[in-house]
Structure formats: C-alpha cells, structure tokens
Amino acid sequence: MNLQKDSAFEVRKVAVIGIGNSKFGVRQDVNISELAFEAVRPALEDAGLGASDIPFVALGSVGAGAWYEELLPAVVVSEYCGMTGAGLVRCEAACASGSAAFFTAYSAVASGQEDIAMAMGVEKMREIDSATAMEWIGRAGYYLWEFHNFGVTFPAYYALHANSHMAKYGTTEEDLALVAVKNHKYGSMNPIAHLQNKVTVEAVLNSMVIASPLKLYDCCPLTDGASSLVLASEEKVKELGVDTPVWVAGIGYSSGTANLSKRNSFSGLEASVQASKNAFKIAGVTPTQVDFAEVHDCFTIAEIMAYEDVGFCDRGEGVKLLREGQTEIGGRIPINMDGGLKSKGHPIGTTGCSMMYELAKQLRGEAEKGRQVPLKNNIGLAHNVGGTGHYCYVTILRR
C-alpha cells in the first residue's frame, strides 16, 4: 500500500554539511559514548561548527538496554559530546533506524523549525555473546507469532526469501556468493570497514550453513560503529560558506507486515519497491540517472533483491547485473563501493547514517583510490531496509 504524499516538497532545501564515521568493527576498546564521539567530532569539524551549535539531534540506535547497557543513548551520548540542551530523540526503525534519524533531522530543518540539526547512528552489538545477539534480532519481527514457537532468526528471514528467489528465478548459491566477493573486494579498500579481507566464491560456498541456503559468508557481521551527519538549511549553507554541500533530493519510505506470513511474495520486499518509487518521484529522478548506490545487503540475497526492488533492473534480472559486473566500478551502476553491510559491517542503528556518510563522501569525490565512483549526474541513492522489509527508507542525495 502506498500512503506517502508524492507531490514535490513545499519545504526548505537541506544539505549535508558535515560527515563523520567511526572505525567499524569489534570495538570493545570504547563504550557507547566514546564510540559516538569518534563520529560526532569529525562531523562537527567538517561542518566548521561546535557542539553547542547543534540545536536538535536525532539518534538511530536499536539495542539500547539489549546488546549494550544504556537505555537512553541519545541523552548519554549527547552529554558526552557536549550537546546537552539540544532537542533529542531516539529513532527506531530496526536496521533502518539510521535513515529514520536522518529523515527526522532533515524534517527539523526542512520544516523551518531549525537551521541546523544532527543525524547520528550509534550501535554496540559486541558486548553480548553472538547467540544472544541472534536471539534479540530474531525476536525483532513478530515475536509472538514467528519467534516464540519457531525461533526464526534474522538470517532465516532472509533465507526464506533466498529459497523463494532461487525457485522463481533460478538464482544460485554461486550468484549469492558473487555479492560477498564484490563487497569484500571494495571493503578491503575502505579503511573504516569491519571485514577487510577478500573472499572467493569457493570460500563463501564452503563456509558453514547458518540458515539454508545462507552460509556464514552470506551474512553481514555483528558490528560496533557510529556515524554522524550535520544538516543545514540553504540559508545556513550560504552563511557558513560551505563549499561542498550535498543536497537532500528526496526521501521515500514505506513498511511491510510484521508477520512474514502476511506477505504476498517472498522474492522481493514490497516496502523497498514503494519507498524507492516515492523517493524517485519526490527527487524527480529515474533509476538510470543515479550514478551509484548504497543498498541494504545484510545478506547476499538482500542485495540481489534490492537491485530489483529499487528498479535498477527488472524482476529476476538482478543476478545478471551481478554476473556481468555492472554493479562494480566501470559498470552501469556501482553499488556498495564501501563494502556494504556485508564487509563494512552492520551496526544496526548506525547503518542508515553510514550510508549517507558514504554517499556524501563519494559525491564530494573523497572516497579512497580504487573505490571512488565516476560521477556523471552527481546523484547517489541509499536504500536502507529495517528488518525484512518491515521498514524501508530510500534517500537520494545530490551534489
């Protein structure tokens, strides 16, 4: 069901003027606040602002009180980073919480409520053992009907889609492996990535089965990480003399049922389809005008479905793009050139903000050698799914 208003905005233009991202990985050298600081400080420095210049902070984080100890991370982190007194809110949209925070900060500025706002994502997933992390994330669908009796894990949710996609379109386990190979290749060039090793198709196929047909190397790691973006109005951009503003062209969103059993199809995510259509309509661009994209590859199958759901190819054609190398540098549309969730890592509530960090970095031409995308239209897209199409946000940025 599409409920989002599709007319052009009658709102102010908003730009990303400061970006920061911590090193992703197992970060047991820092607590939640110290980790956030690693993203907030460079974002503020990049924007040429101080912490006291930020009147509103929207924080994406999911595991508060579950996989890390603080229940009010927006408050804790803002105190640590010098932003006490700002309006604070924690945004939850599962793995799309970072994009929800970005949308919230964007809205604060676009509406005229504020001239500056910060979007931030912070997540610590490695303070608990991985079986318990698997438990928490598995519960995050519909606990009562799909976890309580049946123990559906997060890999299992996507494995259900993988088997459906394979049966419908002839997608193979080797095809899934190609996603991991590509994303690790580019992740190896990204200094902030969690997993910087390259992998082969054989290594992926030989890794242990987690939830068939998905194997260990089909799955993103459990990652700690933080990301931060400073957003500003057009007037503020002029006033501050920002020379590399990256404009928000459009944000689309949608959602899917909590019960997977209530979905029509398991070979794609309807929420992704709707959110993408909305984002393209609002931004006034088409999929072919997008220079590069970040898509939500929490599992290899998720990236293939994303190609089809966002509209970079027709249904069932996702593997073709992949096999032909069309989603690498030199191809039709480079995708996940930061290594994606698969290699860069997936600190759940941070990921959306980290996607925007990557879009801004690429649009500013500041990505590391070997993974900087060629820019033609100066348009990048971030597709951020929460759960298994339970939430979806698609954000289009433009230089």
Binding site: G138, T153, L160, K168
Partner: protein
C-alpha cells in the same frame, strides 16, 4: 566476546507475561488438535495469525473458524545456527505454507529430509503439543 578490559553489567532475568485472554480459543483449539483462524462478521476477511479485531473494517469480536489442513509450501529454510533459547533444539526447518482459505502460516516443517523439501510441495498443517507441554502447530507430510 573480546579480551579488552571490561566490567560486567548487573545481571537481570526477563520473562514477559503475554496476555492470551482474547486468543484463548486459539490456544484451547491447539490442545484439541485444531488450528483456528478468525473471520470478520462484517467484511468476511479471514486472519491467521488470528486477529480478534479487523484491521480491514475495524469491526471487533471476530468469529473463530477452523482452518483446513492442506497447504502448499511457498518457501522454507533450515535453521542451523540457533538463538540462545533454542540451543536445546536440534536444527529445525521453518516453512511458510498457503492454505485453501488463502491465508498463509509460518511454522516448523517436520518429517521430511531437507533434500526432499521443495518450494511448491504439499504439506499438512496440524496442531500438536511440544515435549515441554506447550501447544503449537506445524507442517507435516500429507
């Protein structure tokens, strides 16, 4: 877990008491070997999992209807790496099957070798009790 210096948080045990008053018929049905769905008196829509309120027309007090058992498997996965509270279970197969009424059910699929399980195959939905005495439902060989 990491070898970096750390302190342990205070330990808590969390068990939520989930109300089933409005769904009691469903849980009693499982004990009697029946899988119930609900049907809206006003718009006729059938719900599984059972809703007692209708999201389509906002009616309340939906009727209980027993589901047929013939299902077609739409997709499945074999869960090898299990979460904490399923550590005592052997790896299990989760499937989503479509029933004649048009509703779909997510449940475990048992009694098949994994190599036999295919998208599009037939299975039967049955109610049963777990070894721990909890009512549940699953797909079995027809």
């Amino acid at each position: 877990m990491s070898s970096m210096p750390s302190i342990k948080s205070r330990e808590i045990k969390i068990v939520q008491e989930i109300p089933i008053s409005k769904n009691l018929k469903f849980y009693e049905g499982l004990k009697e070997g029946k899988v119930y769905a609900t049907k809206c008196k006003d718009c006729g829509k059938i719900y599984f999992p059972p809703n007692v309120d209708c999201p389509e027309c906002l009616s309340t007090g939906l009727d209980w209807v027993e589901l047929s058992s013939d299902a077609e498997i739409e997709t499945f996965t074999h869960v090898v790496v299990r979460p904490t509270t399923f550590q005592q279970n052997k790896p299990y197969t989760v499937a989503i099957g479509r029933l004649q009424e048009g509703v779909k059910v997510l449940a475990w699929l048992t009694g098949f070798k994994l190599s036999e399980v295919k998208v599009g195959m037939k299975a039967k939905l049955v109610a049963r009790m777990t070894p721990e005495g909890n009512p549940t439902y699953e797909f079995i060989r027809p």
